[in-house]
């Protein structure tokens, strides 16, 4: 087993599945010779040819649309959107077609596609390069939304996404692309697509996060441990469908929950989790359910981005407040 960064794990998963399944193909801007702006597709065009690693014209709506057409005819397109700030033109095809082709045709045509995109802030990128739109996709019936938080999870979840018979939006935290390496098996084993990971066990409070925010969350857990607070940390990973049972079980145990995400607070996916807890675990709660999210502001240009991304301090502060029961 080699130590891989998250972006290398993505690359390996793509290569693995392309080698196994010749219906898999990659489409996107600059994914060929350039290997993608983050190098996620590095070397794949040389290996699998220009017909299966396709540099597209600059048209995200069109990319999503041709992916739907390909998938309907039995290919398994993996489309890369260069940054989530440019993913919005895909929404029309994702909600009006990808997510409902199976339903509209009573299963006659299906849409086994993956829409991949680097996601989130924190790398001093230019304007519109730091967005976290997972809640938009999570609201669309018929989709799956997956967000890995480590190289191993990226590998296993991306394999699962490519093998899933339905459309999957796969968001890759840019902040983690090269932040750390981890042993990643080259065994072609996928991870389940609708199960949260309990990344750390604890008894005092449940912290729920995903993607890059797992960093601050786990760091906060460490800091809190030094204060004698023993938190459980859940990596949601598969936002949609949500494995709420794992979260509820944890909250029933701890009685406290803090949800952390990098997207703006209002109508962010944290609301969904809090709402489920308020409905199904209310009487287990010893304290209000807190959300530590980005403010309801436009992601600022990079000078302020660290003030935008929920910090370890904000997370720890929220946990302390729920420990006090308020």
């Amino acid at each position: 087993m080699a130590e891989l960064s998250l972006v290398e794990a993505v690359n390996r998963a793509l290569a693995c599945e392309m080698a196994i399944d010749e219906s898999v193909l990659l489409i996107g801007e600059d994914i060929g010779a350039n290997g993608g702006v983050f190098r996620a597709t590095n070397g794949l065009q040389a290996r699998f040819g220009k017909d299966r690693v396709v540099d597209t014209p600059l048209a995200e709506g069109g990319i999503a649309g041709v992916a739907v057409g390909m998938a309907a005819m039995g290919l398994k397109p993996v489309a890369e959107i260069q940054f989530t700030g440019f993913i919005y033109p895909t929404i029309d095809q994702m909600i009006n077609h990808a997510s409902r082709l199976r339903n509209r045709t009573r299963g006659r045509l299906t849409c086994p596609m993956v829409l991949r995109s680097p996601y989130g802030a924190g790398i001093h990128a230019p304007e519109h390069h730091s967005e976290s739109p997972e809640a938009l996709f999570a609201h669309m019936p018929g989709l799956r939304v997956v967000i890995p938080s480590s190289p191993a999870r990226a590998y296993g979840l991306l394999l699962a996404a490519m093998r899933d018979p339905d459309p999957v939006v796969f968001l890759e935290p840019t902040r983690l692309y090269r932040l750390f390496k981890q042993e990643v098996a080259d065994d072609g084993e996928s991870l389940p697509l609708d199960a949260c990971f309990v990344s750390r066990e604890g008894k005092d409070a449940t912290l729920v996060a995903w993607g890059a925010m797992m960093q601050e969350t786990l760091a906060a857990a460490d800091a809190l441990e030094r204060e004698g607070v023993d938190v459980e940390v859940i990596d949601v990973a598969t936002i949609k469908p949500l494995d709420v049972e794992t979260i509820l079980r944890s909250v029933e145990k701890t009685g406290r929950c803090v949800i952390i995400h990098e997207a703006p607070r209002t109508a962010g996916f944290g609301a969904e989790i809090a709402a489920e807890i308020a409905e199904r675990a209310l009487f287990s709660l010893l304290a209000p359910v807190k959300r530590v999210a980005a403010y309801d502001v436009v992601v600022p240009l990079y000078r302020l981005e660290r003030q935008y991304i929920p910090s370890l301090d904000r997370i720890a502060d929220a946990v302390r407040s729920v420990m006090e029961g308020s």
Partner: protein
């Protein structure tokens, strides 16, 4: 700046039959009398269906419906030029083409009657379902064609779009990709002069819509869309070209929407009735009938028999439609994913619990 200006391309309209049904050019070899008779029958079927569907809607037995009245030659001619193995990516007004492809009239009624099973075609099962979000189907067509090219399958995709739809970026992006990738796809622009109430002149300042191809390096042609022979022969050549690996073609078919946009529309609010009257003298069915009668291969008797036959077919379809039991609430869940994820299983239960006691058939 005159000499540097991009010129308006000189695009001629392909036509064999004048509005009076007189040959203005020799019929192409591909178009036999037998074929014309079959096209004539298909167009008549479509028109009979449209009349009935509108009547059903008016009497509360069908939802909103988009008739193809006056445009039958476009759908029928183009679909007839396809091989069975080819794939159709229609808009919402292309049942003329879909019937030729084998979609049943009962399926069509089910769809407009508010039931997803109408899109589970028993024939041409690779054909895309109706597409309502204008222009989104064009990318599907290009993607499908890409799949066939990649897998070296001998299939061509034919897709339809309205004149209004050609103003949409989705049309342009996909057309452009087809140009770059030389995918086996034929784009048929159903130019019926109107996008609901918006006249052609307010949709686009170009002289023709065929010249949209110039922007993306795709061959563009214009045909008289009320001359089914012209539509058939032109699409046939474009399909052959695509099949031969020579890339896409965009074909503008000039026709006219003789009816309202849909049953929810009232075209008298925005359209000069004189224009409609004039256009009735150019419509495709009477034109072809005049030609066939002139050639001695059609008669009042054969016409009466055909009318009768179409009516019977339509009525049978209506009966089948009306006899279809409504789907249960499970139908909302069971085709959402290959397997309903556990997270949503309880919702299916709730829906069952609150389902009203089963109602009657459709309509």
């Amino acid at each position: 700046m005159g000499i540097h200006t991009s010129v308006e391309p000189d695009i001629a309209t392909i036509r064999f039959l004048t509005p009076e049904g007189v040959l203005c050019r020799p019929m192409p070899p591909s178009v036999s009398d037998e074929l014309l008779l079959s096209l004539y029958r298909s167009m008549t079927r479509t028109r009979t269906f449209d009349g009935k569907a509108i009547a059903l809607q008016r009497t509360g037995q069908l939802g909103t419906f988009a008739s193809a009245l006056g445009q039958e030659a476009v759908g029928v001619g183009a679909a007839a030029a396809m091989a069975a193995r080819d794939v159709l990516a229609p808009s919402y007004r292309d049942h003329g083409a879909q019937f030729v492809r084998g979609m049943s009239m009962a399926e069509c009624l089910l769809y407009w009657g508010g039931d997803e099973r109408g899109s589970d075609f028993a024939h041409s099962r690779l054909d895309f379902p109706n597409c309502v979000p204008v222009a989104t189907q064009i990318a599907h067509a290009v993607g499908a064609a890409y799949a066939f090219k990649l897998r070296r399958e001998d299939r061509v995709v034919v897709t339809f779009i309205g004149d209004g739809g050609t103003a949409n970026g989705g049309f342009y992006e996909a057309l452009n990709m087809a140009g770059v990738w030389k995918t086996p796809v034929v784009f048929v622009i159903n130019n019926n002069g109107w996008a609901i109430s918006t006249p052609r002149a307010l949709e686009c300042a170009a002289t023709t819509l065929a010249q949209k191809g110039v922007a993306v390096g795709v061959e563009g042609l214009q045909v008289d869309g009320n001359d089914v022979a012209a539509v058939y022969d032109t699409v046939r050549q474009a399909v052959d070209k695509a099949r031969g690996g020579q890339g896409p073609t965009v074909i503008e078919a000039l026709t006219y929407r003789l009816g309202d946009h849909t049953t929810a529309d009232d075209a008298t609010r925005y359209r000069d009735p004189d224009q409609v009257r004039r256009e009735w003298s150019r419509e495709p069915i009477a034109r072809l009938r005049a030609y066939l009668i002139g050639k001695g291969v059609w008669s009042a008797d054969s016409e009466a028999a055909l009318q009768q036959q179409c009516l019977e077919e339509v009525n049978q379809a209506v009966s089948a439609y009306q006899a279809t039991q409504p789907a249960s609430s499970d139908a909302m869940f069971d085709y959402l994913y290959a397997t309903l994820p556990p997270a949503y299983v309880p919702q299916r239960e709730i829906a069952r619990r609150f389902a009203p006691s089963a109602g009657g058939g459709h309509g």
